[in-house]
Structures are given as C-alpha cells and as structure tokens.
C-alpha cells in the first residue's frame, strides 16, 4: 500500500463526482491509499498563470508545502493540476533565487517550500508504480470488443522538459493501460491534438470547433467511445456534444468516459456505485458491450 495526498483541484469536486468516485474506488482496489489534506486551494492553472505567473508559482508551492508537511507525494486526477503543480515543484527545486523569492511570499502564510516531494498524475502512478501486470491480474469484467479512442490531452505530457512522462509526439503508456483492461486502443486522426478546452469561456466558438473535429475523427475511426484522463477534456467533449446539437444541429452521441471509470468497470466495481448518470452523453451502449 502506497499513500499519496490527493490533490482534487476545483473542477472535479465541483462538476464531476463520477470521476472522483471511480478514481477513489479503482485506486483503492490497486492498493493506492489516498489521503485528503486540509487547507488545499486552487492549483493556479493557466487561467491564473495568465493573470500573474509569480503569484501562480506561490499558490502552487503553498499546496505542495501542505503535502511536504504530511511527508506524502502528491497525486492528481486533473492534468491541469498536474502540470501547474509539477512545473512549480520542478522549477523551484532547480532555481534557488526564485525559490527564495517564493519562500519570501509563502512566509506570510506561514509556509516554506522545501522541495522534498514529488507530484504525480494518477495515470503515471498506474503506469510506473502499479504496472500493467497488476491491473491485468485484477480484471473482473471483460471489455468485449470495445474500441477506445484514447485521448491523453496536453498537460499530462507537455511541457515534456519538465513533466518527463512518456513521449509527447508518440506516447504509448496510456494506450498500454487501456489495452491492459482488454479493450482495443485505436488510431484516429489528430489523436494528440488539443481539445480546445482552455478556450471555453473566452472563445466558446473556437473551443467547440476544435472539440467537434476530435469527435468526428474518433467516430470516423470506428471508436465506441473516447476515454479521457483530464476533467477539461472530458467536459469539452461530453458537454461539448450537447452544445454541438444547438450550434451545428448535429447529433454525435459518442460516449466520453474517464479512464478511471473504465478501470473501475474492468476491476468489477458495481455499475450502480459509479454515478454514471452524470454523463451528458449516455454510456449505455458501452455498458451493454462490456456486459
């Protein structure tokens, strides 16, 4: 059993209880213990970095300090949180003058960044620590011939110089974790291209056009569903399809699942425990296929 402090962030607790419940159940079954710490805040993602980069570093560092005090590495379910926290953690570990500056700010909040822990995305923990073999050994439900369009999004992999996970142009770790469940991870056009999610709220038309292309590309390749590992990618593609109905008068109905949901289903978690009613695009076709 390995323990991590769970960094939940903003979007998952506010919008996606189905993501959180499936992640907690799946990780617990794979002997990953999640500890909820008091006092965490927003991670300071790109919308906050856009306002002030140095403040954002300090906010991320504050949250890392809480995990340092508990002597636990941190795990995130959100790629945005993973990127913001890892960039802050690795930058401050390597840049003494900046670390001194940020610690000057943190002193006001009674904290000091030491650089003693690691930040990991849960997919990284599954890939590097739990491993495919352990997942395979715990499979309790067959995936039928499920054809999955995997979508790892941007901030699990980039900026690669700092995040150092997998290969940004030709990633494979995520596809291997999908195939470990017994599903088929398929190729589709522009698979690695951004979902446009971070433009939602500022340029909704552009964000939706980018998301639409992804839905069309995955559908054309014969995908039964797109499986995501980031709450923004999920919302952009799931809720996005509802908006596509009104904007483009198009019905796509391509189910979007969180990887943790597919993992929970494969590990034998009862469907009734997964709050699947939160999906805007219903996933009954997937449940019927995997039996």
């Amino acid at each position: 059993m390995t323990s991590y402090s769970l960094f939940l962030g903003c979007t998952i607790p506010a919008r996606l209880p189905n993501y959180e419940v499936s992640a907690r159940k799946a990780l617990s079954r794979l002997d990953i213990d999640l500890v909820d710490l008091e006092g965490m805040t927003c991670c300071a993602p790109p919308p906050v970095q856009s306002l002030d980069l140095e403040t954002s570093l300090a906010i991320a560092a504050y949250n890392i300090c809480l995990s340092e005090e508990a002597d636990l590495d941190m795990i995130t379910l959100c790629s945005g949180c993973f990127e913001s926290l890892t960039v802050a953690n690795e930058t401050l570990k390597q840049n003494e003058p900046l670390k001194a500056k940020v610690n000057g700010i943190l002193a006001e909040a009674g904290k000091e960044f030491k650089g003693s822990i690691e930040v990991k995305h849960y997919l990284q923990v599954l890939s590097e620590e739990v491993g495919k073999e352990k997942i395979k050994a715990n499979i309790a439900r067959k995936m039928g011939n499920l054809r999955v369009a995997s979508f790892s999004g941007c901030h699990l992999l980039r900026p690669s110089k700092i995040l150092k996970f997998d290969d940004t142009e030709h990633p494979h770790a995520y596809d291997e974790l999908i195939e470990a469940l017994g599903a088929k991870s398929i190729w589709y056009r522009n698979k690695q291209k951004c979902c446009g999610g971070l433009l939602r709220g500022y340029a909704d038309d552009i964000a939706l056009a980018i998301a639409r292309e992804k839905i069309i590309n995955a559908s054309k390749a014969g995908a039964d569903c797109i499986v995501t590992i980031c709450p923004f990618c999920y919302l952009t593609l799931d809720l996005g399809q509802v908006l596509m109905k009104s904007t483009y008068q198009e019905e796509h109905n391509l189910p979007i699942l969180h990887y943790s949901e597919l993992l929970s289903l494969a590990l034998g978690v009862d469907v009734k425990e997964l709050a699947l009613e939160f999906h805007k695009i219903k996933i009954d076709s997937i449940l019927n296929k995997i039996g």
């Binding site: 506010a14 008091e38 927003c42 140095e54 504050y62 006001e108 900026p159 291209k193 709220g201």
Partner: protein, 169 residues
Amino acid sequence: MTETKEFNVPFSKEVASRYGGETVMLCYQCGTCASSCPVAKTTEKFNPREIFRLVLLGERQEVFQSNAIWLCSSCYNCQERCPQMVELVDVFFALRNIAAKEGHLPKIYSEFAFALMNDGRIVPVSKFIERKREQIGLPPLKTIGTEALRKILAVTGFDKLLLKKEVES
C-alpha cells in the same frame, strides 16, 4: 554630467525582462509554431508567429489591442517543436501578465480572479453537488485554505489586479 536615461525601451526587451518572457528574442520567424497550433488551424484570429513578429517589431499597442494573446490554448505543441527553444506558452503568459497589470483583462479572467480571492478555488461547489457527493459515498470536502491564499495574493499584489478596468472578450 549628463543623466543617462533609457528612452523607448523596445517592447521585445520589456517582454524578455519579465518572468516567462525571457526567450522571446530567440524567435527567428520560421512558423513551426503556427503550423503546430490547433487554434491557428481553426481561426484566422490567432497566429503565434504573427504575434511574435509584432512583439519583435515593437508594436506594443497592436499586440494588446487585438486581444489575440488570449487565444493561446496552452497546449504547448509549439513549445515542444520550436527549433529555437522559445518557450512560447510562457511568453504568452508574460504578455497576458502585462495586459492584466494594465487593466486589460477579459471578463472571464477577472471572474476567475474574483473566485480565487473569495472561495480559494475557481469553480464553485453547489449545494446539489455536495448532497450528491454524500449520496454516492464521497467524503466531505476538506476546508479550503482561503485565508492563507488571501495573504499570498496580498503580498504579490494580485488582489489589486481586480481593481483594474475589465475589457470584454
């Protein structure tokens, strides 16, 4: 004795002197960024190479008037592929930081800032979700460190950004 004074600091130097903006002058306008950009493929309103050209030419006003700097989706594709190791996304953050400081903030961004100041998170948790969490057996949410966060925002001057005038997107 003549007083030395730096007149008309080029805009590129102003950007390069900011945290995040350091690599802007390495750009040699090859266009790898624009051809890797998911947003540039979708709209003519955004072209990273063109914005960098304007910065290098010192067209400060033009850069901020167009609002194009807010259209980067932070996907980092360009940054991965740039042969000159320009950290484009960070440069865009630096440009946005300058705009924010001068009060040119799209409405959605000032909403993020207000939420951060008030709630410690940028997306509020509704009563409905709180009830739903309980029903499906999720643990109650821990207290957010809003007080500590406000102290941090006060030291960095972030809280003062909110007093500036908003611009509509």
